[in-house]
């Protein structure tokens, strides 16, 4: 397909999501191209996670539409999920499995044929290779987060949905994630990221969106977002 005619990684048109009578997200128009990093900023409850979950197909839009590489996340769920990987607030881990067993399960279900040596090498990238026999239930919050982040590596997605990717991580872990985001961008992977750690994430993004009460209040670049939020403080 001609790159000119390729559908964007994410295209939202008049997107809205209601919980009961409350609109968590309303009238959102957004486009994210391949290889672009878009930061979602906003206060708690501003709709960042809702937007990410709509993109992942975990919520059905109450109004408008959203497409992932031209696919409807509701109608073409499996095809859509082959394109994306989501790192959420939740770790999606089983406490009784070890890190290596967890990666084995994810790899098999993602359709990847990966040897244990390759998985151990992957664990080494986040510093978890020394405890392959320890059950995840014994991990600290930071170790769990590191393991969860490996899911994105295993799935080899074209779109990364990151919800607070830096939370629970120490300085080294945060630098690792920042490096991954830069590498993902260079590899043509689109990244849609919600974060409160604006000072660290804004410099990584091509564009930023400031959400207020479920609506796009501002759209610009990372530097502009820092200025805007600085003025608001």
């Amino acid at each position: 397909m001609n790159p000119q005619t390729q559908p964007p990684a994410v295209r939202a048109r008049g997107l809205g999501r209601r919980f009961g009578r409350e609109w968590a997200l309303a009238h959102v128009d957004l486009e994210l191209a391949a290889g672009e990093v878009l930061l979602l900023a906003g206060a708690n409850g501003s709709g960042k996670t809702t937007l990410l979950r709509l993109a992942a197909g975990l919520y059905r839009p109450s109004s408008g539409s959203i497409e992932i590489f031209g696919l409807d996340p509701q109608q073409e769920r499996l095809a859509c999920r082959r394109q994306l990987s989501m790192v959420s607030h939740h770790s999606y881990l089983y406490d009784r499995l070890t890190a290596l067993e967890t990666l084995r399960v994810w790899a098999r279900l993602a359709g990847r044929t990966t040897s244990d040596d390759e998985l151990l090498a992957l664990l080494a990238t986040v510093g978890l290779e020394r405890r392959p026999g320890l059950e995840v239930g014994g991990f600290s919050a930071g170790m769990r987060k590191r393991l969860t982040l490996l899911r994105a590596k295993l799935e080899q997605p074209r779109l990364l949905l990151l919800d607070e990717p830096l939370s629970a991580l120490d300085g080294e872990g945060k630098r690792l994630v920042e490096r991954w985001i830069v590498e993902a961008r260079a590899a043509g992977i689109a990244v849609l990221m919600a974060s409160h750690a604006i000072e660290r994430t804004a410099p990584l993004c091509d564009r930023a969106v400031h959400l207020e009460r479920g609506q796009v209040a501002w759209l610009g670049d990372g530097g502009g977002l820092l200025d805007r939020l600085g003025e608001q403080r």
Partner: protein, 228 residues
């Protein structure tokens, strides 16, 4: 990845989790034994009454124990939203259902051979050795008939705080045909089948197991994915 390989991977994952948390299985077994004991106390020292009710007591003990196991199978998936994590992978929810239903059937199949000897001793019932295989086959059908709707309802109620109450309320009425078939067929295996009625009850159990496995597999995606 083929659906069969997905099912196999998910079953292997569930069995490993079951093995690591095997105290859960032991507590379900203990619950079943206590239930059988309570039925024997309720029937009193009346041996004929205990013998005539043995099949019913045994099947009820299995049914009550099974609800504990079914509820627990999805509780693991709700911790840290592991189920959502599976659904975000390119995994067909139907494969997820059949993997869970197979895991729950195996769980019940392990429960039956432990509770049956306890019931035989408590209720002073004997079984001819050549009929043990028939009884096991019967349990396999009953376990299949219970686990498919049990898996569906366990998934439906897994996010509710009142799951422990709701699951039996929803499940028990639906599995009445399986319960009846299992009780009647077990009674015929234990006390003899002079009128050759066993075949019709086995057919009933098989038919309901088939219906439940088909219909529940189709309905399952609606219970775990929003907006279907």
């Amino acid at each position: 990845m083929s659906a069969l390989r997905q099912v196999a991977s998910l079953v292997a994952k569930d069995l490993l989790l079951e093995w690591r948390g095997r105290t859960r299985f032991l507590s379900v077994v203990l619950f079943g034994v206590v239930t059988l004991l309570l039925f024997s106390f309720a029937a009193g020292p009346n041996t004929p009454a205990m013998r005539s009710g043995a099949a019913g007591f045994l099947v009820l003990a299995l049914l009550l124990s099974s609800t504990l196991g079914l509820a627990e199978s999805f509780r693991l998936e709700q911790e840290e939203r592991a189920l959502e994590g599976l659904l975000l992978l390119p995994v067909d929810p139907v494969a997820l259902f059949y993997a869970k239903a197979i895991g729950n059937t195996l769980f019940l199949l392990l429960l039956a051979p432990i509770l049956t000897p306890v019931a035989l001793v408590l209720y002073a019932v004997s079984i001819e050795p050549e009929r043990v295989a028939v009884l096991l086959g019967l349990w396999a059908l009953a376990a299949a008939g219970l686990s498919a709707p049990g898996t569906l309802y366990a998934a439906m109620t897994s996010r509710l705080r009142s799951q422990d109450v709701l699951l039996p309320l929803l499940l028990f009425p639906l599995v009445v045909p399986v319960l009846m078939g299992a009780v009647k067929a077990t009674a015929l295996v234990l006390s003899g089948d002079p009128m050759s009625q066993l075949g019709s009850w086995v057919t009933l159990l098989g038919a309901f197991a088939l219906i439940y496995w088909s219909v529940c597999g189709l309905l399952f995606p609606y219970t775990v994915e929003e907006g279907r």
